[in-house]
């Protein structure tokens, strides 16, 4: 599908060599959304969970220590910036790199938590993220091999789609699903959300949502029948 049809009028490009991020109302909205949320995270403090004890009047506060708070805030900011970058990039391989960065930073955000169940789940999520890098980069490489280009502008102007590009799209979907942990590979991530430290956990949610939307846009651009 044409870029103008799917994401609106082209407002401009940012020339960075072969990698040309482009700005359309659709991409700009998601870019600004990710940046705004990152700013909110950078200035906010974590929640404090209160665990009620059964059969007694004692409540227990679960607080996040200052060291844990700082590393998680740092990683959450990196995750937000990577999400924002993935929203406006105009290059397929660049996009997969941003997604890989989001995946590894997501693991870091939860692996700072001192709870054994959560660390176990984060380990399983890390295994998936490592496996997912194969279809993710493999998909982009197959697109380059069968079309000769990685630029989304050039790909959107192609007249037909080789069968291999459709297969590469399937690989890309699988890679993004693994890196961001969407259903049916969700259980590892659901376990991680039970940790204290709300705003930093939410960036994991937001990044997967935005990346999935962007992936669908890219797949519509590079597959011609649509």
């Amino acid at each position: 599908m044409d870029i103008a049809t799917i994401s609106g009028q082209l407002l401009g490009t940012i020339p960075l060599g072969d990698i040309v991020p482009y700005i359309t109302p659709f991409n700009l909205f998601m870019f600004a959304g990710a940046l705004t949320f990152t700013l909110l995270i950078a200035i906010s403090r974590t929640e404090t969970q209160v665990e009620a004890g059964f059969g007694s009047l004692k409540d227990r506060e679960v607080k996040v220590g200052i060291k844990e708070f700082r590393i998680r805030r740092f990683l959450a900011i990196i995750c937000g910036l990577a999400t924002a970058g993935a929203m406006i990039t105009g290059d397929l391989f660049n996009f997969t790199l941003f997604v890989a960065l989001i995946g590894i930073v997501n693991i870091g955000i939860v692996s700072a938590v001192k709870q054994i169940d959560v660390l176990d789940a984060a380990f399983q999520y890390g295994l998936i993220a490592m496996m997912a890098s194969l279809p993710l980069f493999g998909g982009a490489a197959l697109v380059l091999a069968s079309t000769g280009t990685l630029s989304l502008f050039q790909l959107s102007q192609a007249t037909f789609t080789p069968v291999m590009v459709t297969f590469a799209s399937v690989l890309l979907i699988l890679g993004v699903a693994g890196e961001t942990g969407v259903a049916p590979f969700y259980a590892t991530k659901a376990e991680m959300f039970r940790t204290p430290g709300s705003p930093f956990i939410l960036i994991i949610h937001l990044s997967s949502l935005l990346v999935i939307v962007r992936t669908i846009e890219i797949l519509l651009i590079i597959n011609k029948p649509f």
Binding site: D18, V105, G108, S151, L174, P184
Partner: protein, 159 residues
């Protein structure tokens, strides 16, 4: 309906998820062998045939892109040549050590290429520079996470 509920319950166990993912990935990769594939010969990032430069006893094989620093352009293609005006001008730069090695033997092309001051890959550092920055960022974040976990969970254990 009972069996569907059982499947959902099985999927809720984090330990099963990597195995499920690996299985799905394996099946899809195997079907990839059935997909017809033709290499596009108008490649954006061209390379010579694998053995051509080695058979010619080129000391910089298999990565020689030709050209002369700041005078003659080497063979580097760009998607948007207007964004990289000076493309190919420094791709053949060699440090003095690399020139010595090149004059003495023809078997060190890969070593010259991978050492700093060897052939400069302008695809990495010029036309696709943002990719290189991102790759090293990924590596740095991995080290940040690993060292944080090592310092706080392995070296300063509470229990």
């Amino acid at each position: 309906m009972k069996s569907i509920g059982r499947i959902w319950n099985a999927l809720a166990n984090p330990k099963r998820i990597p195995r499920l993912f690996a299985l799905v990935l394996g099946i899809i990769l195997l079907t990839g062998f059935l997909v017809p594939f033709s290499l596009n010969d108008q490649q954006l990032y061209p390379r010579p045939e694998p053995q051509v430069q080695i058979d010619n006893h080129d000391p910089l094989a298999p990565y020689n892109r030709g050209g002369e620093p700041l005078k003659e352009r080497g063979i580097v293609k760009a998607q948007y040549p207007e964004n990289s005006v000076n493309l190919g001008k420094i791709t053949s730069y060699l440090s003095p050590i690399a020139i010595q090695v090149k004059n003495n033997t023809i078997y060190y092309g890969t070593s010259i290429y991978s050492s700093p001051g060897g052939l400069i890959d302008e695809i990495l550092y010029y036309t696709r520079g943002l990719d290189t920055i991102l790759e090293s960022t990924i590596l740095m974040m991995a080290f940040v996470i690993a060292s944080w976990v090592a310092i706080h969970f392995t070296m300063r254990r509470d229990e």
